[in-house]
């Protein structure tokens, strides 16, 4: 359809703990995506990079870093940082430029090299930085926040440790044959429950690791796509992109804050933040949760995947455990969630992750997700959450 933005090509560098320069992963993913699109690098008019904060200056100007590594071609450039949602902010920069008619074809790239262990703030005393304060004053790591959500599900909705473990078992099974996944081995409920507790009730195997990896997309106008052969058949269409911020008052404690907003004067909004992320995408696309073939959601922990079932409208509040127990979100279920294996199999490569979610949905909608294909998939959503009020959702359709 005229006016549409399409995903012409996708590419990834496998996730792992490779310990090499992040630029290498980004360039490999970019070359894959260009090859997949049948587009020459010299044709790309806009390079949109998703930044990494852990690799020095080249990471802060990632768009230019990747452009130089591919060989300066005169394209315009932007670099975005939005914590875990950086990838979609970079996608949105490219999409809006294409929608504005200022560009026909753009390359979006994100890649990261990560240190081991808990993600920690930058060094040095910064007592006005909430990301510093939460570690110093409370000892609150990222898993602390994940666990607060998990424990609430247990006390309010009767979720059990076995439910949470089952999310990991499902995702591990989905990722078995995903060549880009870091972990490709089966996991049992017993394995999960036997792993050490990090932040009660979450075990080590329920919390996503940090990984190295790279992902890239070639986005184009429908007109440009029509002139190019690219992948077989109709290209996957970007039906909506959401990068909304919370509405006051934000009533769930979110990373890295130590407190919520107040509901004393302004009542809690109808849709809490995470719910509003997908809702904005549905509204923009005129697509609803009932139209979905699959979802890729940000399972930073097993329990957070269950929160997402409700946040993206697959079921009502408190019903996610039922959906899981019924097998609805399994690969052969009514609405498969994380067919890629999710963060459980990938670990998080921050600026690449939200782009990788779009890669997976694209492969699914093209019928190219070998070994993990959701049969007849036509519509897919991604959902993602970052620090500091960031989050994203992309709706794709074919």
């Amino acid at each position: 359809m005229a006016g549409d933005v399409v995903v012409l090509g996708v590419g990834m560098h496998p996730w792992g703990k490779w310990g090499r320069n992040f630029v290498e992963y980004g360039v490999a993913a970019a070359r894959d995506a260009l090859r997949d699109a049948g587009v020459d690098w010299s044709e790309v008019q806009f390079v949109s990079g998703a930044d990494t904060m852990r690799n020095g200056y080249p990471g802060y100007v990632s768009g230019a870093t990747f452009a130089q590594a591919l060989g300066w071609n005169g394209a315009r450039v932007a670099s975005s940082y939005a914590a875990c949602a950086s990838g979609v902010t970079a996608i949105e920069a490219a999409r809006t430029r294409i929608l504005a008619g200022m560009c026909d074809v753009a390359l979006v790239v994100g890649a990261d090299t990560t240190p081991k262990g808990f993600l920690a703030p930058n060094a040095g005393d910064r007592p006005t930085d909430p990301d510093w304060l939460r570690f110093r004053l409370v000892g609150a790591t990222n898993p602390t926040y994940f666990a607060l959500s998990a424990r609430r599900r247990m006390d309010l909705y009767g979720a059990t440790s076995e439910d949470f473990a089952r999310v990991k078992v499902k995702n591990a099974s989905n990722g078995l044959s995903n060549p880009n996944a870091r972990y490709q081995k089966p996991v049992t409920v017993e394995d999960v429950l036997a792993s050490p507790i990090v932040a009660n009730p979450l075990h080590l195997l329920e919390i996503c690791a940090t990984s190295d990896g790279g992902a890239a997309l070639v986005l184009a106008s429908a007109e440009f796509a029509a002139r190019h052969a690219g992948s077989a058949g109709a290209p996957v269409r970007v039906a909506a992109v959401s990068t909304v911020t919370p509405s006051y008052p934000q009533t769930r404690i979110d990373l890295p804050d130590l407190a919520t907003d107040s509901t004393a004067v302004v009542a809690e909004p109808d849709r809490p933040f995470k719910e509003s992320i997908a809702f904005a995408a549905y509204e923009e696309a005129g697509i609803g949760p009932e139209d979905l073939s699959l979802a890729e959601v940000y399972d930073l922990s097993t329990a957070l995947e269950l929160d997402w079932y409700e946040d993206i409208g697959l079921c009502g509040r408190g019903e996610a455990e039922g959906l899981l127990r019924d097998g609805a979100t399994e690969l052969d279920g009514r609405i498969p969630v994380n067919p890629s294996g999710g963060l459980a199999c990938f670990g998080e490569a921050v600026p690449a992750q939200a782009i990788a979610q779009v890669c997976e949905v694209t492969w699914q909608l093209r019928g190219q997700a070998t070994g993990r294909q959701v049969e007849g998939a036509t519509v897919g959503i991604t959902a993602n959450q970052g620090l500091f009020g960031h989050g994203s959702s992309v709706l794709l359709a074919r």
Binding site: D125, W132, V138, I253, V266
Partner: protein, 159 residues
């Protein structure tokens, strides 16, 4: 034992009062009346309000558990290990406590001696001021949450 100096931990200066009935110190917007914690530096957080003036108000000393967890592993710096870098990590609980009157939910460590099984969503908690860590002459203080009705055997810890 000589008198030790008690100071709020770096970053938490002005965040709480000390004494017999300590309280977190919030800010109340003099224009719209909304609350904020920690203190607001850049104007009222309510987007419909243009207020820039705030009064300091002690927040409710009691609230109910919104959720809770613990830290089984030692958090990375800038967390300071209470017994010094060489000390073994002693797991501690963390609770997010909802204050009804102010409509705020605030996270904090739970006093030592309280385990995960002693907590539940909805349980009543009280604010205390406790030592976050100590160095040679100084106790660095922070707010913590303490169950109002401690579970059997748990002495609720220091305050």
């Amino acid at each position: 034992m000589t008198t030790r100096t008690r100071v709020p931990a770096l970053g938490a200066e002005g965040w709480f009062s000390d004494g017999d009935e300590p309280a977190l110190l919030g800010r109340r917007c003099t224009t719209c009346g909304t609350y904020a914690f920690p203190k607001v530096d850049f104007g009222c957080p309510n987007p419909a309000c243009v207020g820039v003036d705030f009064e300091e108000v002690p927040l409710s000393r009691r609230g109910t558990v919104w959720s809770y967890t613990d830290a089984q592993y030692r958090p990375p710096a800038p967390y300071v290990v209470p017994g010094g870098d060489g000390a073994e990590h002693e797991p501690f609980c963390i609770a997010a406590v909802h204050l009804e009157a102010e409509g705020l939910t605030i996270m904090g460590q739970v006093v030592s001696g309280v385990g995960i099984d002693d907590l539940t969503v909805g349980a009543e908690m009280e604010l205390v001021v406790d030592v976050l860590f100590s160095d040679d002459e100084t106790d660095h203080l922070v707010w913590k949450w303490k169950p109002v009705a401690p579970a059997t055997g748990a002495d609720g810890g220091a305050s």
